[in-house]
Structures are given as C-alpha cells and as structure tokens.
C-alpha cells in the first residue's frame, strides 16, 4: 500500500512530519497551550490527577498534544545535564572551621537505580497506513498533499468508526458534538508555509517539524550522538517504514521502552487484515454457495 499522497496529488510537496526528541523536552507544556490557542481546542476541565505533573492524562478530542511526565526508576542511565548534585563526596576530609562535634552535612539517600523524570510530548502519528482514514465512510478523514492525515470537521458525521481503528488510541470523539477530533499537523499553517504551532512554541526544539526524510536523517544522527555519549537507551520509535503502520509521520526519540511512555511497542494498522478477511469471507461465501448449489442440485436429482 502506498501513501495516497503519492498517487493522488500532482506536484505534491515532500511529506512533512514531526520528530519529537524527548531527550531535550523540559516539560513546559508550551506545545499543549500553543496547540489549543491556534486550533481553538476547548479547555477540558480542572482535573488534578496526581500523575506527576501531568494533568492532561492523554491525547483526546480536546488534547492534541500531551506532555507525559514519567517518574522512572529503570536502572537506565539518565542523560547527564551537567547539573550539580546534592552533597559532597562521602570521603571528603572535613574542611577547616567545620564543627567536629557534628557529623558532615546532608546528602541524598538514594534508592535502587537512578530516578529519571522523563518528559515526552505525544501527538497523532500521522501513519503511513492510517486505519482511521481507511474506515471513514464520509471522506471526512483524508490525506493532505503533505502526507498528513486530517479530519474535516464540516464533513464528519460522528459515526465513530475511526476511534477504535486507531492503533494508538489518538483520535477521539468530542462528547459535546459527537464529532471526531485530532491533530491536523496545523494543516492551515502548512498551507501558508508556516510550521505547526507546537513546534513553533517549543523552546528547546524537542519538537522538530520538516520534511520527513530530513527528520529521519536528523534523528539517526541524534541517536548516534547520544550513543556516543553513553546514553545507550536512546532509541527511535515510529521511524521505520517497515513497521506495522508503514512508519509514522510523527516519530520520536525515546529514552526507554515505548511501554514506559504508554506507547504500543508494535502497533499494527487495524485494517491490515481487512483484504485477507474479505478474501476469506469471500471464499467462505463461495464455499457456502457451492454447498447450497450442490445440495439443491442433489435435492432436485
């Protein structure tokens, strides 16, 4: 299966996407706010979750960017940001003037492994093989000339087929109007040569926007760089055109297993088996028809 953009658009621009490098995410949530401001996504409630600093909880009809905060004790090496640590070396000799009657000053009591505070901005993956688009009966979901997947709010009839079709659980129905909503990769901005609002607002360039081919090269180089620095846990997610969704238009650099971030480890386009299912259903129907015919013929003889 190829991209619709490859077949349906003449002189299409290169496929555009996001590379979200979570190793430099600082958890500021500017992407979430910029997205809501630009796209007029409604505020969706004051819900204190206790999930670290994440009160957004996940992607949904009213959250098209979601910054996850994960307090992770995996034993993996955290990225060394060169920050000073609390407490001196344990065997340091007492400095002059230090009162000998008191033990040395405070230090952190560390538990098992190093605690990491992972922050990662999640978004619609804009799959190469997009099941949401495959199952949409109205044509509301379509693939743009940029290779992105967009739902048109004036066409969506709220049937909801796309929602269980998404292997990432991204697209979602808005309770108030029944229609399906998700990231458009700021289609309106792309059409006038602007980058999406979230990428524009990201102060550390954790969210990078550009032609997907370039982003993939940049991402490979970043992983190599991190590996050279000893950050062996750095890996890409959704970058591989041979994965179950044909690769994501929005892919990620992660510092742990995808499951740590709440991402499926091996997503598969849910419509992958549809042709085979139809073939088998057809064969079954054919077999049934033959059986009925044989029975009928036999009965008549």
């Amino acid at each position: 299966m190829g991209l619709l953009s490859e077949s349906e658009y003449d002189d299409a621009p290169p496929r555009m996407g996001f590379f979200t490098d979570t190793s430099v995410c600082i958890g500021c949530k500017a992407c979430e706010v910029a997205c809501k401001e630009w796209n007029h996504v409604p505020e969706d409630g004051l819900n204190y979750t206790g999930m670290s600093y994440d009160n957004t909880q996940g992607l949904g009809a009213d959250s098209w960017r979601h910054v996850a905060f994960i307090e992770n004790r995996s034993g993996a090496t955290p990225v060394d940001l060169g920050m000073p640590e609390v407490g001196g070396p344990p065997d340091a000799p007492a400095a002059a003037g230090v009162r000998p009657d008191l033990p040395p000053g405070g230090d952190l009591i560390d538990g098992e492994g190093k605690l990491q505070w992972l922050m990662a901005s999640d978004v619609c993956k804009h799959c190469t093989h997009a099941a949401c688009l495959d199952v949409c009966p109205t044509g509301s979901l379509f693939r743009t000339e940029f290779g992105t997947v967009v739902v048109q709010e004036d066409i969506c009839n709220g049937c909801g087929y796309c929602i269980p079709a998404c292997p990432y659980g991204v697209i979602d129905q808005r309770k108030e109007d029944g229609r399906a909503w998700k990231c458009t990769l700021c289609y309106d901005r792309l059409e006038v040569g602007m980058e999406p609002a979230c990428a524009k607002a990201c102060p550390t360039d954790s969210i990078q926007f550009g032609p997907l081919d370039e982003l993939r090269e940049r991402a490979e180089a970043r992983v190599e760089q991190l590996h050279e620095k000893g950050v062996d846990v750095a890996r890409l997610y959704g970058h591989d055109p041979d994965d179950g969704v044909g690769g994501d238009g929005a892919f990620f650099l992660l510092l742990d297993e995808p499951e740590t971030y709440g991402l499926p480890p091996d997503p598969v386009v849910t419509t992958r088996d549809l042709p085979a299912m139809w073939r088998r259903a057809g064969l079954a129907a054919l077999g049934l028809a033959v059986g009925v015919a044989v029975a009928a013929l036999g009965g008549s003889s």
Binding site: G27, E32, E37, E43, G45, L46, R99, P104, I109, G111
Partner: protein
C-alpha cells in the same frame, strides 16, 4: 544573598566574568524584573542606580554627589548623570541656580521597603497603597500580615487583570472565614482598576541580561482596561490640573514636571516611544544623545536614565530592532538593545589577556587591534576604545582616565574585580552559611545559628518557631520549601484565570516522599494539612520519589514541597502557602525567606471557620511559642 555572593566570588576567582559563557544568570520571576530596578520601583534608588537622597544627610546636590561618587571609574561622573536626570524631570525649571531642582526630590527618612510598609500599615502610619500588578495577599511572605495591613488603610488601589485576592480580602479572605476580620469593621476604600496586558499596549521588557525588547500593541484593551502608562500619565495630569495656579511651594515639584507626553487613539494612550526618547535623553538642541559619555553636569543635557542612554540614538527606537539571527553575528547586536551602550557582555575587556589578545580563539570576543590601535570584536568593547593594554595613567589622573589598560572592571574605582566591599553591607563582608530562620537542625558550620543581622518584624501574626535543639522545635519537624510551577506565574493573577493554563495545574498540591507519606499516613491524591506558627493550609498530596529523604547531622528527615501560586479567587483555586511563611528578611536587600522553613504535616483537610485559627494557636502553645521565640541573635 549568601549564595549569590558566594557565586559572584567564585566566578570572579575562576576568571569567568567578562567572558562568553561566564557570568551569573539569575533565574528571576518576572519578564522585566531587571527593568524594575534599572528604572526602579524600589524606594531607595533613582533611575540608573543613583541613590535616593536621605533627609538631612544630603543637604544639597553637592553634598549628595560628594557622598556617593568615586574619584576613579565611571561613577566619578555621577554629577552629570544626576543633573541630566533632574533636567529630564524638571526641564526648564531646573537651573544651576536652584541646584537643578534637587530639592524637589522626596527624601528618605528610613526604610520604605515592602515589609516595612506593611508594618507601618499595621501601626496605622501608612494610609494609602497602590498595588500595580502585584498580589501580596497571595505572593508575599506571611500573606495574612499583608491582609491585616491593608485592612488598616484608608484607601487601596489595585490594578490587575482580574479581581485578585489583594482586591477582595475584605469580603472573602481567610480572616473573614475564621472571624478574625469582619467586613463591616474594615474602613479601607478599595479601588479596582482593570489593567491592559502587554499585547494591548506598547512598551518594553528589560530581561536579566539587560536586554531591552520593545513590544507593539496588537489589540486595543477591552472595556475599562488601560495600560499602566495611561494610568500614571493621566493620574499625574489630573493632579496637575487640580493644582494649577497654586502658589504653595510644595506643589512646585508637580507643577514644574515635564509632563507633556503626546497621546494617541481613542483612550488618549501616551506614546510609549516618547518616554523611551526621554529616558535616552537629548542635548541642548533637543537632538537624541547616543552615549552616556555625552552627559554634562551643567544642565545642557537631559537624560531619564543614564545607563539607558543610547536606546534612542539617531532618533530610532533601538529596543524595537528585530533583525533575524541569520542576518547578523552570533552576538546578535541588532536584536533589541542592551544597556549600557548596547553592550551584551559587561567587563568584556576580561575576555582578552593582559596584552589584549583573546584567551582562546574559540572564545574570542573583544580584542586589541594593534594596527589600528583600538579595541574591536564581536561586541561593543566595555573599555575606552583607544586605551591600549599598555596604558598606565599619569599621576593625579581621575575618573576613567585613572584606570590602566589592564583594568576591565571599569565601574569599580580601581578597575579590579572585588571579592568584597569594605562598606555598605549590613552583615559581614564575606558570605557564610547560616541556617534559615526556622530549621529543624543546628548550623553544622558555626555556632552562630542564624544571620545575626537579619530583619525581624515581631507581631502576634508573625510568630516564629523554635529551631535546632530548642524546646518545641520538634513540633515543626519537617523542612518546607515553596517554589513555582511552569504553568503559573507567581501569585497567579496572570494564570489562574486562564483556562488553558489552569487546566494544566488545577490545584494546590504538596510533594512528599513515600517515606514521609508512610510516617504521617498521607495518601497519594488525598489531602494533607500543613501547619506553621503563622497559618494552616490544605493541599492535595503527591507522593513522589523525586522528594528524597535527607540525612542531616546523622538524622533522617523529609521535605515538604509546596508550589505557592494559589489563592481563593479565580478559575483554579486553593489555599495560599504564603499563609505559612514568616517575615524574616535578609538584612541587605530585605528579601523574605520563603524557600526554607519548618512545618508539620498531617493527613486530611484543614479545619474550617474559627477552628482554623484555633489549630494554629494550639500548635503555638504546644511549641511554647511567645513573642521572644526565634528572635535570638
């Protein structure tokens, strides 16, 4: 203060001042906090860090200059800076014969810092108060004391975006709930004037790097909202109209002010650029100045802030420049404008070795061009342009001429980096470690527990707790720290009313370690009650391994972390952690100690009504607290 002084000494000793990548960058809470000291909202400074004159000490201009200028370095020219400031304010009325209206300046008779003002309110000595973009009923230490002080005022003006707690404490503040205050007993007349946001007005920010960035109005403010510039200008205009024709000499300072800014638009908004032009200054012909070195002490120049001189050079608003990074050098001199003289890095002579050559090619910044006999480089040199590294002053030289070609620290009288100042500080010349006002521990370094010069304001609503091994210290066994979240701005006036920000951090929470949660029976996502000798608040509980137990002096203890943004008003509401903090101030800059104190924490929600105040009194009794506690030197 002890930390920042230590950091400054360390960076000086390491040779990290005046070099790219060096210096100290304070993480400060406001977009223009640097600007608010350059052109100060502080009671003891005039623009450009000229000191505010004291009553009696400085009888006239000569005595004032005498007291604060130096023989060498740029402060030797302080008379030019001061006279030019007086000319900017009083124009033609300022003449050599009348000391350039020096006597028009108010005089200090003591400290008028924030907390001294609050104490004066409580004593009935201060009767009026302007709050412009500030919410002390949530954001200042011991917020209760702030509210009690405001309740003693005759009038209070609050300018903010929304009805913040500092505007409504008299009808729905915590003391109304506890019965400690009754609305009908409060005589304060409160005026709320809605303020325009930065997108609704022209103006500039000066960030921590001394960079001025001008912003232009995008939309008109809605309803009655107006800019602070509008408020200040029209308030002054109306007062001057009321005083017109007065023969009372005490009205002359107001009537002689140069208060003639052009206005525009349907709200008669003053032209912000006209203020920039006045700050920059002009010569006797009215032409814009380009450098503070042009300032004279004979009244021929006017300049509203000498360090900002040049921001309007050539009649162009230099702070409004936005040349893209790709079109200029990495130092980006054409993005905004930095004081002084658009110099991005102070004391940058130190980026070159004594001979004037870059210490390393990688960090080449400014250097001595032997061939053309001048300093050059990527930035404006912070040095006399043609002063050779080999220059040595002749005997008797004064001012900048007295500094050698080796002296990068041109604002110091000897041109050298100073590790300490021999006078001016109210505590010792070198920093040290003191325990906070309230600490569960004894000072591990010295027998001196706390800063002996700290400022305390004893008051029945500002009770202090025992520390270290004093009796009763164990009633407040946990260190408490307050801090900010990315999603909210200080006391919340700009963010708690904004749905897109409120939903990201919707409630006050406290952060505790799993160990402390177990010790005190706190449940994740449940409620906790946190108590000090000043107050009690409730917060949702976040149990997190990020809060790690501390082992101090052989004992294990647990911290409580509290972001301080909340109050009872707005879209996202909660108790105010500053109801817990005390007024105990650094002696030099009068800054409150709210980053480290001691508390108790217990599961469940706090008591309501009068019981809320009773719980605090109960803790005070249990800890044996009286008016002497915690005041020991």
């Amino acid at each position: 203060m002890q930390y920042i002084r230590s950091a400054a000494i360390l960076q000086s000793l390491l040779g990290n001042i005046g070099r790219p990548g060096g210096g100290i960058l304070a993480l400060r809470g406001h977009a223009s906090i640097q600007g608010s000291t350059d052109i100060p909202t502080l009671y003891n400074l005039l623009p450009g860090y000229l000191p505010m004159p004291h009553a009696h000490e400085h009888e006239d201009l000569d005595a004032y200059i005498e007291a604060d200028s130096t023989e060498k370095g740029y402060w030797a020219e302080s008379r030019s800076y001061m006279v030019s400031l007086l000319k900017a304010w009083w124009g033609a009325a300022a003449t050599p014969e009348n000391d350039f209206c020096f006597d028009y300046l108010p005089r200090l008779t003591g400290s008028a810092s924030t907390y001294d003002t609050v104490m004066a309110q409580l004593a009935g000595e201060t009767n009026g108060y302007f709050l412009i973009g500030e919410n002390p009923a949530v954001g200042s230490a011991n917020a209760k004391l702030q509210r009690l002080g405001m309740a003693k005022l005759d009038w209070l003006v609050v300018r903010d975006f929304s009805l913040i707690e500092s505007a409504t404490w008299w009808k729905d503040g915590p003391e109304i709930e506890t019965g400690e205050m009754r609305t009908e007993d409060i005589g304060t007349e409160v005026f709320f004037l809605p303020a325009a946001a930065h997108t609704e007005k022209d103006g500039s920010f000066t960030n921590t790097q001394r960079l001025l960035q001008f912003h232009h109005q995008a939309v008109e403010p809605e309803g009655d909202a107006r800019s602070d510039l509008w408020f200040t200008f029209h308030l002054g205009r109306k007062i001057r109209e009321r005083l017109a024709g007065s023969t009372d000499p005490r009205d002359r300072p107001l009537l002689d002010l140069t208060w003639d800014y052009p206005t525009k638009g349907r709200h008669a908004e003053p032209e912000a650029e006209a203020v920039v032009a006045e700050i920059n200054g002009w010569d006797a012909n009215g032409d814009p100045l380009s450098s503070y070195e042009q300032l004279n002490d004979d009244g021929s120049t006017a300049c509203g802030c000498w360090i900002y001189c040049g921001v309007y050079s050539d009649g162009v608003n230099q702070a409004a420049r936005r040349r893209p990074a790709g079109e200029q050098s990495w130092v980006a001199p054409e993005w905004g404008w930095a004081w002084p003289a658009n110099r991005r890095l102070l004391y940058n002579r130190a980026s070159a070795d004594p001979d004037g050559k870059p210490w390393s090619e990688r960090k080449a910044y400014v250097w001595w061009d032997e061939e053309n006999a001048l300093w050059t480089g990527h930035d404006i040199p912070d040095f006399a342009e043609n002063k050779s590294p080999h220059y040595r002053p002749p005997a008797g030289a004064r001012g900048a001429e007295a500094l050698t070609g080796l002296d990068p620290f041109v604002m110091q009288a000897d041109g050298k980096a100073w590790l300490f100042v021999p006078s001016g500080l109210t505590d010792g010349p070198l920093p040290t470690h003191y325990e906070p006002q309230e600490s569960p521990f004894r000072n591990p370094l010295y027998r001196q527990q706390r800063n002996p010069a700290r400022e305390l304001h004893p008051h029945e609503s500002n009770r202090l707790q025992p520390s270290g091994d004093q009796a009763g210290a164990d009633v407040f066994p946990y260190p408490l720290t307050t801090y900010r979240l990315t999603e909210h701005h200080t006391a919340g006036g700009m963010t708690r009313w904004v749905p897109y920000l409120a939903e990201l951090q919707p409630e006050l929470f406290c952060e505790v370690s799993p160990e402390l949660a177990a010790e005190r029976g706190l449940e994740h996502n449940g409620w906790a009650t946190i108590v000090t000798a000043r107050g009690v608040v409730e917060a949702r509980v976040m149990v997190t391994e990020r809060m790690q137990p501390l082992r101090v002096a052989g004992r294990t203890t647990h911290q409580v972390g509290l972001p301080y943004h909340w109050g009872p008003n707005g879209y996202s509401v909660g108790d105010s952690p500053n109801d817990l903090t005390s007024v105990a101030l650094d002696p030099n800059v009068h800054i409150q100690e709210v980053k480290a104190l001691a508390c108790d924490i217990r599961p469940g929600r706090r008591p309501r009504g009068a019981d809320r105040a009773e719980l605090v009194r109960d803790y005070q009794r249990r800890a044996g607290i009286d008016d002497e506690t915690g005041t020991e030197v």
